[in-house]
């Protein structure tokens, strides 16, 4: 069996294909072949959340996922959240709350927050902290991040 193969998948709604090796992670695929830099490898261990993407609508750590198995899958990245020029409400809420400094972790926090609110539109602060336990912000913008999630929750009515 070859250690390379052609995979076909949907990337942010667009039918796509790529030649991948058996060692490529999803992060390698997105960064090197599609120039998508929003999800980034940081801790390489699934702990920090910087590489969060959706695979078949589920949040995963792209640094721990082999691109090989993305054949037939639907992948969504932070770059696929905005509708044209209109940011996703979660993106806008992070800007409004000033929920970042350097921004390195922000795409991961936004991707996880979106999933949190899908599953639980009115989380308590404890539930917010718990759901985001696998996302690290070294600038420590945590209070503002929690503010952003709470603001979204209030708006959800």
């Amino acid at each position: 069996m070859s250690t390379h193969r052609l995979i076909r998948f949907t990337l942010n709604g667009v039918p796509s294909k790529a030649m991948v090796s058996s060692q490529d992670t999803l992060i390698d695929l997105l960064q090197n072949q599609f120039d998508l830099k929003g999800a980034r490898e940081s801790c390489s261990q699934g702990l920090c959340g910087c590489c969060t993407v959706y695979l078949n609508d589920k949040a995963i750590s792209a640094c721990l996922s082999l691109a090989w198995f993305a054949d037939g899958a639907e992948i969504r990245t932070i770059e696929g959240l905005a509708q044209g020029e209109t940011l996703d409400p979660v993106q806008q809420a992070f800007i409004d709350a000033g929920a970042f400094q350097c921004g390195f972790c922000t795409s991961g926090f936004i991707m996880m927050t979106k999933k949190l609110l899908e599953e639980n539109p009115h989380p308590t602060e404890e539930e917010i902290r718990h759901y985001l336990v696998g996302n690290l912000c070294r600038c420590s913008a945590y209070p503002e991040i929690i503010d952003a999630v709470k603001a979204l929750s209030r708006r959800a009515g």
Partner: protein, 287 residues
């Protein structure tokens, strides 16, 4: 952190999987969700020549079912943690599973990691294996020689080692739903809340008035495999629960097992944690 070169296979039936796993170098590895494997491969601690995905080998590796009499759950090895965490019926009947899940890694890992892969990895620091053992759960494994079923606690042989024979795959987990048992998983971390545990204690307790009718105490993370605390159980079983009795149980627990020192605590410290947390958890469960 590049990984070594490898082949990837996605066999569509068990016969093909067994054939692929019989690679001459013995370094073909079955793969569930792959979360633990990816960590080891990226660190180049483990360099399989091939990965054999179990995603499509057999429908019996999938699905969560409650038996008609409601006495036990049967869980496919490829079931993800998130599927169990959000399984309303299982969470209602075995709330200790949901309680354990929320202490375990993060939602992304739980979306991918599988029940079978978690058992096969046999890292003694994992949270679910001691809980399954405390439930008297059993595993069904299937291999080239056929199928067998045995208590999950007999699966573990030491650090990253199982009693699985070459080619054998964990297919399903069977977890009894016992009435009247109170259950808890105590995860003691010494560095940060979501760190690996310094010790884990899975407890099942059945009371009859003020007296303990039966109990299960399984220790993890402090030993090279999930270990039943037989002596501590014997101290408590059949007795009326008092503070003195629980102190004696904690002491028995700390002296009956060989506790390993690691970066999360010395052997002595972990023994102390064990005696204190065991006593405290049993006390809380009695109330």
């Amino acid at each position: 952190m590049a990984m070594a070169d490898l082949d990837i296979h996605e066999p569509g039936d068990l016969a093909e999987a067994f054939c692929l796993l019989r690679a001459p170098d013995g370094a073909a590895r079955p793969m569930g969700g792959g979360t633990a494997l990816m960590l080891m491969m990226k660190a180049q601690l483990f360099k399989p020549s091939a990965l054999v995905s179990l995603a499509k080998v057999d429908p019996r590796f999938h699905g969560v079912e409650l038996s008609a009499d409601g006495a036990s759950f049967s869980i496919g090895a490829m079931t993800t943690f998130a599927e169990l965490e959000h399984h309303a019926d299982l969470c209602a009947r075995l709330p200790v599973i949901a309680q354990t899940m929320v202490t375990l890694a993060n939602p992304r890992v739980r979306n991918v990691a599988t029940i079978g892969g978690n058992l096969a990895h046999a890292d003694p620091h994992l949270d679910l294996p001691p809980v399954w053992a405390s439930l008297d759960a059993e595993v069904s494994v299937i291999g080239p020689q056929g199928e067998r079923r045995f208590p999950v606690i007999e699966l573990f042989a030491g650090y990253y080692e199982t009693t699985l024979q070459p080619g054998e795959l964990i297919m399903r987990l069977h977890a009894p739903v016992q009435q009247g048992w109170r259950r808890r998983y105590v995860k003691v971390t010494t560095r940060s809340a979501h760190d690996w545990p310094a010790i884990g204690i899975a407890i099942g307790l059945k009371m009859q008035g003020a007296r303990c009718e039966d109990l299960r105490l399984i220790l993890s993370a402090a030993t090279d495999r999930p270990t039943r605390l037989v002596a501590a159980e014997a101290v408590v079983r059949g007795q009326a629960i008092t503070d003195d009795l629980l102190a004696a149980a904690g002491k028995a627990a700390a002296s009956e097992v060989h506790i390993e020192t690691d970066s999360r605590g010395s052997s002595d410290y972990k023994a102390h944690l064990l005696s204190v947390h065991l006593k405290r958890a049993l006390h809380d469960l009695c109330e």
